[in-house]
């Protein structure tokens, strides 16, 4: 009997070793350890054994049972692991294949520039004012110290709709519109982005429609040095920390003194190149101290308050910043152009 048990054990272990599927292992388990298996049968025939041998034989049978079971578990584990590995191997993908694009659009470059500037001035406590694109002659010119027949009106030939209304030639009319509402009570801190129109034939550097951002700050003790400080922040934010600015005297009917602002060339750093026409400086915007007539006409007392104003062209800024060579690109809407302004 002992011998048979030993044989059974060896047989079982060999079979387990040779098994190649979970099914086979299951069959082996049933065959050897099941209720109808040989070991059970042997144990049943133990009655014939002596009282001394019985526990010994029982012990042996149980040991063999345990050994087979253990071996079975062991082999099952090995095979399960192999199966999982096999499955994972089958699931392998080519991770170099392109991912599914999240097909997003993006801002037009002008909006990109305008929002960047808006955010900068919002951070400095300015709010954003918007106004009509068809304006009265009064707000577009007269309230800005440009009476009819003023020679400076030649500077911006305009599209009139009627004798008294026109497509605004700048967003400056919002200076007067905003100030009028405040009945002489400051401070005023606004920027005014928007579309403007001038009688120009469209070419690489001219467009009959373009964007402008006007800025206005009026209050007690607003100084030209403040204009310089604010514009310096603007220049550094838009064109890089290392930018220097310079103010040059200029002329606008609605400011006195008037200035133009140049930034040190971001292309050559000031040594001279084609971007800055070898001057080291690039003209960015115009501005100045609000003309007393403008303050007066809008209900503010120039003896009590002063102010600064400036106006800039987002097209020009975008062209400089991104190296765009033709202003018409902004209005043609070639998708290959717009898509270039996706990333930060």
């Amino acid at each position: 009997m002992q011998e048979r048990l030993q044989t059974l054990k060896e047989e079982a272990l060999t079979q387990i070793e040779a098994a190649s599927s979970m099914k086979e292992l299951q069959d082996i388990r049933v065959a050897y350890l099941g209720k109808k298996g040989p070991i059970t049968e042997i144990l049943r025939g133990m009655g014939k054994l002596s009282a001394e041998e019985r526990p010994k034989m029982g012990q042996l049978a149980n040991d063999i049972r345990a050994a087979i079971s253990e071996k079975l578990d062991e082999k099952t584990q090995v095979m399960e692991k192999a199966a999982v590995e096999e499955k994972l191997k089958e699931e392998t993908i080519d991770i170099t294949l392109p991912g599914r694009p999240v097909k997003k659009g993006n801002h037009h470059p002008l909006t990109r520039v305008i929002e960047e500037i808006e955010d900068l001035f919002l951070g400095m406590g300015f709010s954003i004012a918007e106004g009509p694109e068809v304006e009265t002659d009064y707000y577009n010119f007269e309230a800005l110290n440009l009476p009819k027949d003023h020679p400076a009106r030649d500077m911006q030939d305009s599209f009139y709709v009627t004798e008294e209304t026109l497509l605004r030639t700048h967003t400056s009319p919002m200076q007067a519109r905003t100030m009028e509402k405040l009945n002489g009570e400051g401070p005023v801190k606004i920027i005014v982005p928007g579309k403007v129109y001038r009688r120009d034939t469209d070419d690489a550097t001219h467009s009959h429609q373009f964007m402008q951002i006007e800025g206005l700050m009026v209050g007690e003790d607003v100084r030209m040095s403040d204009l310089k400080g604010v514009l310096q922040s603007f220049a550094k934010k838009m064109f890089g920390e290392e930018r220097e600015i310079r103010l040059r005297p200029s002329f606008f009917p609605f400011t006195e003194p008037s200035v133009e602002m140049d930034i040190s060339c971001f292309n050559c750093g000031g040594s001279g190149c084609s971007v800055c026409k070898s001057t080291g400086w690039i003209e960015i915007l115009g501005g100045g101290m609000v003309h007393p007539n403008v303050l007066r006409m809008s209900g503010f007392d120039p003896e009590k308050v002063t102010g600064f104003a400036f106006g800039m062209g987002p097209e020009r800024i975008a062209m400089l910043k991104y190296g765009i060579d033709d202003i018409r690109h902004f209005y043609t809407n070639d998708s290959r152009f717009i898509k270039q302004f996706k990333h930060i």
Partner: protein
């Protein structure tokens, strides 16, 4: 304005500054120097030559063989092709080894067998523009009229060693439209004194008043008019120095008389006109408004028709000049002119501007009158011209001037306090610095304890108020010296308005959904304006459009978005999704049109695509509708924005919906009508346009948290067979109506038509979710509600349950 530095140095010492340095300083002072041009276009080795002999070439009709003294030991032989070459001339010779503009090198050559050692030059060959070359030298070589020495540098004589600054003058700085004005400015910038011409005239015994009388009808139009008479004139070419001055200023020399008036115009900024006295037609000058329809042939041989808006100079009968703009052809100075009537006047700038504009005639004269000239320089300028005519044309200047009006006006006083200057500029400029700046500007002033009363000379009509003086001080103090500070006024919160914030959200949402932002023009053509509506309102049309294509303001954004789509399609860019937010313009009944901010989108081709996974999702009605629905949801309007079947002439009749907000029509969405697609050469294209203001301005309740569900909900699916024409939204509406307050969600999850269904029928499958926030729903509650739903849809639509 072109400024020759050789010329300018006659009035102010420029020693020690290069042309570029001067340009930089002048620009920083407030007058922008746009370009610095060297008149020497790369010339080397051009000298003066004396033609000693000149004979025909033995083998070529048009060539001459010349012996030319170029200041070397032996004369050289040069072959010349110019017709005007002659023995005895002094000419410009490019020697062997010389370089001409364009890096053209002169070498020894043989022309038809004859050796040639150099080249006799025309002015064009020396880099002078053809339009500036005197007529007599236009077709041939240049010949010196002054006494010159062979071998000397020709460039010096021709002023080709000069540098010219081009000034970009702002309209306020009319004072810098002449050399004297620029001398004042540069003197102030460099802090150097200036010396101005002081013409000395010898006048004859005869009186000008015996030759001509002057009568000005309206002194407001013509505050001063003076006529000087110069006799015994010989009209001939000007000397080289005068030619050089004019050429450097970009004006072509004509003859001494005309050149002198042009020179004085450039020097003093005073437009002058020289009439031929004998052709003037009378002995009186009458300045008056033109009669309606009166005609004059101007110097450019063009007949002009005048009106009473225009000021004219007449001989008492006929106009002889349009005041301040251009003279008449009849009284023009000619070769045989011997007596000149020299006009020096001050005309009202608005009238000159009006004439110039109406006649489409801009001249150097009108440009100056329009912007305002120095009233106190009128008489000195005429004296300067008379002196030059005496000197260069042999003229005799008659005693006195026939004139009307005051010769002088007083300087104006403008006051400024030093404290105010510093307050406005944010600087700490001292009283003595301010005084020094006014000295540099040559302004007289009185200073009482920091209050400066400045006598502003009439040459600076741009300075009228305190702020103008602050600018003068600021610009000469230097804006580089103004510190950069931060405003000290009360702080204000900077924030977007609700509208601006929402608009940014909508833009980002659209971009997240795959649309790119476009920006198109507001001006459009009449055809495009009415494209999307047969009953478009009255046009808002430009009074004077530049083209029909850009003549009216748009009432819809779609035509230009479709144009952008066409542009891209034509370039094989086929998958397109654009949106735009912009104003449209509608008549309002008042002065200004109503400007409505719209949002429009256009989509065609594939919306989503991932080729290697075979995923292709073309844009279709439901893609674009889903995007609009997402906007509504983002803005909290999902229950208030609805789509109602509609018809629009340019949209597909079966695939168009009106977009309504709270039942009010705010826009359309749909597929372009296939005929329109064909007309525009576009593939299947979906569009929408809505009134963005309505959407962004709709009042929305504050976002509030809803309690998370505490009890399970029950979901029942139901598939209803209904007529295929029945709209899903209608079924949903009825379900909602009868479902009771426990029915919280109605989701359409399947639409089926085809096999197993009768013709003309479709199946709509809804998933209905019931929920009671107070307690767990009972089976009975759900059953009751669900039965009500089934009963209602059966009664109202004959809907059968699909098994």
């Amino acid at each position: 304005m072109l400024v020759s530095l050789n010329w300018l140095s006659q009035y102010v010492d420029l020693e020690g500054y290069s042309a570029d340095e001067l340009a930089e300083l002048i620009t920083k002072g407030g007058i922008e120097v746009e370009t610095v041009e060297s008149l020497n276009k790369g010339i080397k080795g051009v000298v003066i030559g004396h033609v000693l002999e000149c004979v025909g070439h033995p083998d070529a009709d048009k060539l001459s063989v010349c012996k030319v003294d170029i200041g070397e030991e032996e004369p050289v032989q040069i072959i010349c092709g110019a017709a005007n070459i002659a023995k005895g001339q002094y000419v410009a010779v490019a020697k062997v080894g010389a370089v001409l503009p364009g890096n053209f090198k002169i070498k020894k050559a043989k022309l038809r067998g004859e050796p040639s050692h150099g080249m006799i030059c025309s002015l064009q060959e020396l880099g002078i523009e053809s339009k500036l070359v005197q007529k007599e030298y236009a077709e041939g070589i240049f010949v010196f009229s002054d006494e010159v020495t062979p071998g000397e540098d020709a460039l010096e004589y021709l002023n080709l060693n000069d540098n010219v600054l081009e000034l970009g003058l702002t309209p306020n700085r009319a004072d810098a439209m002449n050399m004297i004005g620029i001398a004042y400015e540069v003197g102030a910038v460099l802090n150097r004194p200036i010396s101005l011409p002081s013409p000395e005239l010898v006048r004859s015994e005869e009186n000008a008043e015996d030759y001509v009388s002057v009568r000005v009808e309206n002194e407001e139009n013509t505050p001063y008019y003076g006529a000087t008479i110069i006799k015994d004139i010989t009209v001939k070419p000007s000397p080289q120095w005068l030619v050089n001055r004019l050429v450097s200023a970009g004006i072509r020399p004509i003859n001494n008389v005309v050149d002198i008036t042009n020179f004085v115009l450039l020097e003093y900024g005073q437009p002058l006109h020289a009439f031929d006295y004998d052709r003037f037609g009378s002995k009186e000058v009458v300045v008056r408004r033109a009669n309606q329809g009166e005609k004059i042939v101007t110097l450019d041989d063009t007949e002009r028709t005048l009106s009473s808006d225009h000021l004219v100079i007449t001989n008492g009968t006929n106009p002889v000049a349009v005041a301040g703009v251009m003279g008449g052809a009849d009284s023009e100075v000619q070769q045989d002119t011997t007596t000149v009537l020299l006009e020096a006047a001050y005309f009202n700038s608005k009238l000159v501007r009006k004439s110039s504009k109406d006649l489409g005639l801009r001249s150097d004269s009108s440009a100056r009158f329009e912007k305002g000239i120095d009233r106190n320089r009128v008489v000195p300028a005429s004296e300067r011209a008379a002196q030059l005519m005496q000197e260069l044309a042999g003229g005799t200047v008659l005693r006195g001037v026939s004139e009307q009006g005051a010769r002088h006006i007083e300087a104006k006083d403008v006051t400024v306090e030093v404290s105010r200057i510093n307050q406005v500029l944010g600087t700490e400029i001292s009283e003595s610095d301010v005084a020094a700046i006014f000295d540099r500007l040559q302004f007289s002033y009185k200073n009482f304890g920091g209050t400066f009363t400045v006598q502003v000379p009439p040459r600076r009509p741009d300075i009228t108020i305190t702020e103008d003086l602050i600018e003068e001080v600021g610009r000469l103090y230097g804006y580089d010296n103004v510190p950069a500070t931060l405003p000290i006024t009360e702080s204000t919160p900077g924030q977007l308005t609700d509208f601006q914030l929402k608009r940014r959200r909508v833009r980002r949402l659209l971009e997240g959904a795959g649309l790119y932002q476009a920006v198109t023009y507001s001006l459009t053509s009449p055809a495009k304006r009415v494209f999307f509506s047969d009953e478009s309102p009255e046009a808002i049309r430009l009074a004077m459009p530049m083209s029909e294509e850009r003549s009216e303001l748009r009432t819809s954004l779609l035509p230009h978005l479709l144009e952008a789509a066409q542009y891209n399609i034509n370039r094989q860019l086929e998958n397109l999704a654009f949106y735009e937010t912009a104003s449209v313009f509608l008549p309002s009944g008042s002065d200004l049109p109503e400007e409505q901010e719209h949002l429009a989108g256009v989509m065609t081709g594939l919306w989503q695509e991932h080729p290697w996974q075979k995923e292709k999702k073309p844009a279709d009605f439901f893609v674009i509708k889903g995007i609009v629905e997402e906007i509504a949801e983002d803005l909290g309007l999902e229950d208030r924005l609805t789509f109602v079947r509609a018809e629009e002439p340019k949209l597909h009749p079966g695939r168009t919906a009106a977009i309504q907000l709270d039942g009010e029509l705010i826009g359309y969405i749909g597929q372009l009508h296939p005929e329109v697609e064909k007309e525009l050469d576009l593939p299947e294209t979906y569009v929408f346009e809505l009134n963005l203001e309505k959407v962004l301005k709709a009042n929305v309740a504050h976002l509030k948290y809803a309690k998370l569900p505490r009890f399970p909900s029950v979901t029942r699916d139901v598939a209803l067979v209904v007529d295929e024409t029945l709209e899903a939204a209608e079924v949903k509406r009825v379900i909602k109506e009868v479902g009771g307050d426990k029915l919280v969600d109605i989701n359409l999850f399947d639409v089926y038509q085809g096999e197993h269904l009768e013709d003309g029928k479709k199946s709509l499958a809804f998933s209905l979710r019931y929920y009671n926030p107070e307690q767990t729903l009972t089976e009975e509650e759900v059953k009751n509600a669900h039965d009500r739903v089934l009963q209602a849809v059966e009664e109202q639509f004959g809907a059968a349950l699909r098994s």
